[in-house]
Amino acid sequence: MKIEIEVSRALDELADSVRVIGPVTVANHTNYVVTGLVDTHEQKRNLCWCILGFIGNIIEADMSIDSAIGNGKVATDNLQRALEKRLGVGDSLSLRQKERKRDPLLQELISHVLLLIHQRQEKLSVWLGTIQAISMPHLSPNDSGIDLIAIGSLYGAPISIIGEVKAYEKKPWDGLNNACKKFSEIVDGDYDDEIRGALKSLTKQSDISFTKEQLANNIWREQGHFGALVGHDSQYGKKGRSHIDVNFSSNQGEVLKQNADNLFFISSPFYSMRSLFDDLTSELVELSNKLSETL
């Protein structure tokens, strides 16, 4: 079993299984609801292959898939070391550690998988256009940087995409509001050093179809597209009764500060986020072991 083959296959299968409701443009933003990522065991397993792809650096900066992690036992050992380091696998994590470190990283990795899926089948086109270049996920949960920076192509012009990933079990709309806090800081210029570095770096990738002059013009014209990718429990409200409403428009303070035309809410409802992330962690360990078993 070769990990790069598994990752590639898993991505293709996920691209087929993922369902997106939206875009639904409401008063203050545009909504998407994404399902079909973890609804079945097969989907979960595919997602985990993709996550392993990131953790094991199988997915390159230009989004190509190429293994540098080795084969068999070597690959298993390497991946498990990476899992221990990044997700704390093997340690018994407290709830707080899970909430603060493991879950946000997993959610960020899931969000990046979503973008890889979009690369194969465009499902979030209004937000992302056609992906041209994308930042790799942070593998350090303490990193205070921007979760996702990408360049898409929309109507023939490049557009910058900023994503903020949140894992909010019970209050997905608070997740949107909190993501918007960061968007305000970004618009205020607090992350410009990072964005400068990212855009310069992304424009150097080999297969982009735009010039940096085009990108500069576009950035001057508009701020880019801001997307809050919020993972949450599918039944999140009081006593677990509420479901996400794709027609709902948030009126929270930070949301209202944003430009409604450029703000996207991408919701990923999971049956239970907490147990999902526990499941995913176990699955990741299992899959990494599988690499050596099958040799």
């Binding site: 900066a61 930042s135 790799m136 940087g145 210029g189 050093d193 990072e194 964005i195 013009n217």
Partner: protein, 1095 residues
């Protein structure tokens, strides 16, 4: 707001193709003007976000286009645009003053260092310093590391970066040497960058490790290939690589290394920055100067760089260079500036061995003392007047003068003093063919003309540094009444009118015809009983209050009338509280005590600082009061400094805004010079100088100057055209360098060239002889080297001028005048006929049997001087008389005095006299004698005012300063006008005595040759002290007259006689030690002890 140089940078920047550079220029300016409108004038709150977003996007878009392969030999123009647009955008954020969480603070910290990095690449290092300081202030207030927001490696890298950008290389390297480890790849990357910065600091002085350069390259390549998004690390790596590329261009050490190879200590302490001080980065003017003056070996330099562009530093470099070959003459226009230059050079050249810095201070009067020249290699800091005296008395030392520096060289254009500076420079050039001349000014338009003068007269090449580069941007605003806002309301039975004030600002500085102007209606409303609204002082006060309320240190320059400075400060009205106001320091308290002692009443200044947050700085103040104002302003105890235009010259004060109150100097001046062209020129100079004082380098990146026009303009509303605004305030469009320099003596020389050798000398010719060194070996050569002669061009005319002046001298001698009398007149700077007259007067005294020799005291000699002056023809003393009348004339109430100047001019005085005029003249001489006696006896200024007005001052008016008619300003102005003129006559008396004793000792009367007080009379008279010993205290210890008298009384100097004040230094130091041990509980003694204990 954007100046010409930064406009050029924007033009050269890589920008989004949808925008033009002019649009970008206007956006930046418009945003800054909007920031001013919102934050100073509290208007236009609504469109904040659009401005800051626009600029941020421009910055981001340009940074995408920013080439990584820029030509490192030139300024990185795009870096300027990236930094400037982002920094202006961030001003909106800073002024919101919200509480922000730690993680946001950390982002801000990085953000400001990011701007600082781009400013560094654009060679705006003072701006880099300011923004890095803002970042460090955040760092000091938070511990990001403890909060777990940042790993130790990253924290350490950013500290290193901040130190590097601030030119604190020692601290940068200390930080890089700290033992720090990081568990992450990214962290290790930051640690490597930290090493790179420390290595770069070494490279700045040519000691870098080349292998680190290669590793940095490899590191960057590796990062690009890395499948992880280390974007911040990548961005920092790019910057560090760009810093490396810029180092050969920016490193001042490398530029000077070969030239100053024998001055390693100086390079280490002043340039290398390894001691965290000095100038490691070469600003553009510095670079241009080093290239031309040192590398291309140009002999002279004419430096016309805007205020704040680093001229003083260039003079320092030229001095260090010249000190290897001889001594340096460093001229500056005022004693205050000379003192500051001396103190700065003493500090900055401390590492240069075997040299000295000496100041030779004083005014035009002749004095016996000379510079000590304790070291053959020294910088002598002088006013042109003292330099002129020195060259007349010791011409031979100028053969060893290796460089003559004239700071504020636009002085050459002044009819009052330009001739003196010109003669000094010409003399220097004539004495030593190798002497280098450095002319510096922010205001000279035709530097090429000055360069041609030096080149043509010496045959040497001239470095013409006329770079219009300024380290900060200054928005130029004006305010006008908006008559469309005129309102009338009823207040009781009376009508009350009110009108709004509109502010106007251009996108460029100076203003241009075709650029967009922005205006907004300020909340300032003027009220008055009719439509003749009190304008200039009133609106200035309102504006000043706005800046104070916003806690912005602001200079207000009052051109029209120096007493208005007090009036503006006194009537300030604002609501302002600041929690953390600095307490008055003990030095400030002691200066207040000293001022009270000198004045004889409480100083109004203390009250203004305390209650109005306003310092005042005018010539009608005591030195100790001005010092108090400067200290309080620097310490932030006062936020406003209301000053006259003279302060705008040279003195460097912390300010972010300037308000210029009026654009025309008072036509009265000192009552003697009313040349309208000269006044216009001086007005313009002062306005331009004043505006250049907004936003001092290293304090702010940009600032504001607001010009308040002199008169209330009518018929103006928001639709006024830009052309009309410019017509009302023409100086808005003046470039800093606007002054044309023409020799003030050219026309005098020309008129001389046409006179035949045997006619009687004209007034102009006599004044030329009083000015020039008259020794035969010097007269002709000096004339030959003058700017005036260069402008005349015709060599025949030059010969004719020299022949004519020589013949006047010869004729004077053949008709009975003695050569040494001519010399004495030249030393004293007066016409030789006056010297002849004095000699004859003394001689007549000797033969007069009723004559009693004067008492050998200052008072005795002053009375003798009056005896002589009183018998002179009226036209000789008329100017002196006018100066006294100005202080004497009481013009208030029922018992006011007649206006004597008008009265006398009406009868045709000084040519004609009447019985009435004679009676008044008699009274005036009597009053002069009385007041001069009191002056020398150490009376307070209040008492002097009473003697001058002949009226007791009521207690409620004692400390008033807002009008020249009050007692204190009257007495101080009398000192500056009348006493200084009288000191010149005293100088002549001393010069005659000196020359007589030297040349014909046997014929000199005993009472004249054996005097022990006359040697210091001109200085003592000017300083207003009781005797030569007090004069020594005044010179060396405390520049206040009553305090000097008191010191002499409490701790008398040990010398039996005091003929040379310079030599008395040691004696004074010994007595000072005794004074500090005296047991005396009086407040003034305690204050003096504390003030002097640090000397």
């Amino acid at each position: 707001m954007i100046d010409e140089f930064s406009q050029k940078l924007i033009l050269d920047s890589q920008i989004p193709s949808q925008l033009s550079s002019m649009e970008i220029r206007d956006m930046i300016s418009r945003s800054y003007l909007s920031w001013l409108a919102q934050n100073i004038f509290d208007v236009e709150k609504s469109d904040v976000s659009s401005f800051k977003d626009e600029l941020r996007r421009i910055s981001l878009a340009s940074s995408i286009l920013h080439s990584e392969n820029i030509d490192s030999s030139d300024i990185d123009a795009t870096a300027f645009l990236i930094a400037e647009s982002a920094e202006v955008s961030s001003m909106f954020r800073r002024s919101e003053q919200q509480e922000v969480p730690s993680n946001t603070l950390f982002r801000l910290f990085i953000r400001y260092l990011d701007y600082a990095s781009y400013y560094h690449l654009a060679d705006y290092d003072a701006n880099a310093n300011v923004t890095a300081k803002i970042a460090f202030n955040l760092l000091d207030s938070e511990n990001f590391n403890a909060d777990g927001l940042i790993d130790v490696a990253r924290d350490s890298y950013y500290r290193c970066l901040g130190y590097f950008l601030r030119g604190k290389f020692g601290k940068c390297q200390d930080e890089a040497n700290k033992k720090t480890e990081s568990p992450t790849t990214e962290g290790r990357g930051y640690l490597f960058l930290r090493t790179c910065l420390a290595n770069l600091a070494n490279k700045y002085r040519g000691h870098g490790d080349e292998t680190i350069d290669k590793r940095l390259n490899n590191f960057q390549l590796a990062l690009q290939n890395k499948s992880v998004s280390y974007f911040s690390l990548q961005a920092e790596t790019f910057k560090v690589m760009a810093f490396y590329a810029a180092a050969p261009r920016k490193s001042l050490h490398q530029m000077l290394e070969s030239e100053f190879s024998d001055q390693q200590e100086y390079l280490n302490t002043r340039i290398s920055a390894h001691n965290n001080q000095g100038y490691p980065f070469a600003w553009p003017p510095t670079r241009s100067f080093c290239q031309k003056y040192f590398n291309e070996k140009k002999h002279h330099a004419v430096i016309t760089v805007p205020t704040g562009g680093g001229k003083s530093f260039l003079a320092e470099l030229a001095s260090v260079d010249a000190l290897r070959r001889g001594w340096v003459l460093y001229m500056a226009p005022t004693n205050a500036l000379c003192s500051q230059i001396k103190a700065d050079l003493k500090n900055n050249l401390a590492s240069v061995s075997n040299i000295d810095i000496e100041a030779y201070l004083g005014e035009l009067e002749y004095s016996e003392e000379l510079p000590k020249f304790q070291m053959p290699r020294q910088v002598l800091v002088v006013t042109p007047e003292k330099a002129l005296l020195l060259l007349k008395r010791q011409p031979e030392i100028f053969q060893e003068c290796s460089a003559a520096i004239l700071d504020e060289c636009h002085l050459l254009a002044s009819k009052n003093r330009g001739d003196i500076a010109e003669v000094v420079l010409a003399f220097c050039l004539s004495q030593n063919t190798d002497v280098r001349v450095i002319l510096m000014s922010a205001l000279v338009q035709d530097s090429a003309n000055l360069a041609s003068w030096l080149a043509s007269k010496t045959g040497q090449q001239v470095a013409n540094i006329d770079l219009n580069w300024r380290p900060t941007r200054i928005a130029r605003l004006t305010v006008l009444p908006d008559w469309s806002t005129l309102e009338k309301k009823q207040k009781g039975k009376k009508e009350l009118f009110s009108i709004g004030v509109r502010a106007f600002g251009d996108t460029v500085t100076p203003w241009k015809e075709d650029t967009p102007v922005r205006s907004w209606l300020s909340p300032i409303r003027l009220e008055h009983k009719d439509q003749q609204f009190p304008w200039i002082n009133n609106v200035t006060r309102h504006l000043a209050a706005r800046f104070v309320e916003k806690k912005i240190p602001t200079l207000v320059f009052v051109l029209k009338n120096r007493h208005h400075a007090f009036s503006i400060a006194e009537k300030l009205n604002f609501e302002f509280t600041m929690q953390e106001r600095p307490q008055a320091s003990s030095k400030e308290k002691n200066l207040i005590e000293l001022a009270n002692y000198e004045l004889g009443t409480t100083t109004l200044l203390a009250q203004l600082i305390d209650e109005k947050w306003a310092s005042v700085h005018t010539s009608t103040m005591l030195d100790c009061e001005r010092k108090l104002s400067e200290i309080s302003f620097e310490r932030g105890r006062s936020l406003l400094l209301v000053a006259t235009g003279t302060l705008s010259q040279g003195l460097n004060l912390v300010a972010k805004a300037v308000i210029v109150c009026g654009t025309t100097l008072s036509e009265y001046g000192n009552g003697l010079d009313n040349d309208p062209v000269e006044l216009r020129t001086r007005s313009l100079t002062q306005v331009l100088n004043a505006m250049g004082r907004a936003a001092r380098a290293n304090i702010a990146c940009r600032g504001t100057s607001i010009i308040v026009p002199d008169i209330l303009p009518n018929n103006i509303n928001q639709n006024i055209s830009k052309q009309d605004v410019l017509q009302i305030v023409p100086s808005l469009r003046n470039k800093d360098a606007s002054l044309e320099i023409n020799s003030p003596i050219r026309d005098k020389l020309l008129s001389t060239s046409t006179n035949s050798t045997d006619t009687a000398p004209s007034r102009i010719e006599r004044s030329l002889l009083a000015l020039l060194p008259i020794g035969s070996e010097h007269l002709g050569t000096t004339i030959n080297f003058t700017l005036g002669n260069f402008e005349i061009v015709n060599s025949e005319a030059t010969h004719a001028i020299i022949r004519r002046l020589e013949s006047i001298k010869t004729n004077a001698i053949t008709s009975g005048s003695k050569e040494w009398i001519l010399k004495a007149a030249s030393f004293a700077g007066v016409e030789y006929e006056l010297a002849d007259n004095l000699y004859a007067f003394i001689y007549s005294c000797v033969s007069d049997t009723d004559f009693y020799p004067p008492d050998d005291s200052y008072n005795g000699w002053a009375f003798f001087l009056f005896d002589w002056l009183q018998q002179l023809p009226a036209y000789v003393t008329w100017d002196l008389l006018k100066l006294h009348i100005k202080a004497w004339h009481y013009y208030w109430g029922k018992d006011k005095d007649p206006n004597l100047v008008q009265l006398f001019e009406k009868i045709g005085y000084p040519e004609k006299e009447t019985d009435e005029s004679k009676e008044f003249i008699e009274q005036l001489w009597g009053n002069m004698r009385l007041t001069v006696q009191a002056w020398l006896d150490g009376e307070t200024y209040l008492r002097m005012g009473e003697l001058l007005t002949r009226r007791e001052c009521s207690s409620d008016k004692e400390n008033k300063r807002t009008s020249p008619g009050y007692h204190l300003p009257r007495a101080i102005m009398w000192k500056q006008g009348f006493i200084e003129r009288l000191a010149q006559f005293a100088g002549l008396l001393l010069a005659i005595q000196n020359q007589w004793v030297e040349n014909e000792p046997d014929s000199a009367p005993y009472w004249l040759s054996s005097t022990s007080t006359l040697h210091t009379l001109p200085i003592g008279l000017r300083d207003g002290v009781q005797n030569p010993f007090a004069a020594a205290w005044f010179r060396h210890v405390i520049q206040e007259r009553r305090a000097a008298n008191l010191l002499q009384k409490l701790a008398p100097l040990q010398s039996e006689a005091m003929s040379d004040i310079q030599e008395a230094w040691t004696d004074v130091q010994q007595s000072l030690v005794k004074f500090l041990q005296i047991d005396d509980e009086r407040k003034i003694v305690n204050a003096l002890k504390q003030l002097l204990s640090t000397l």
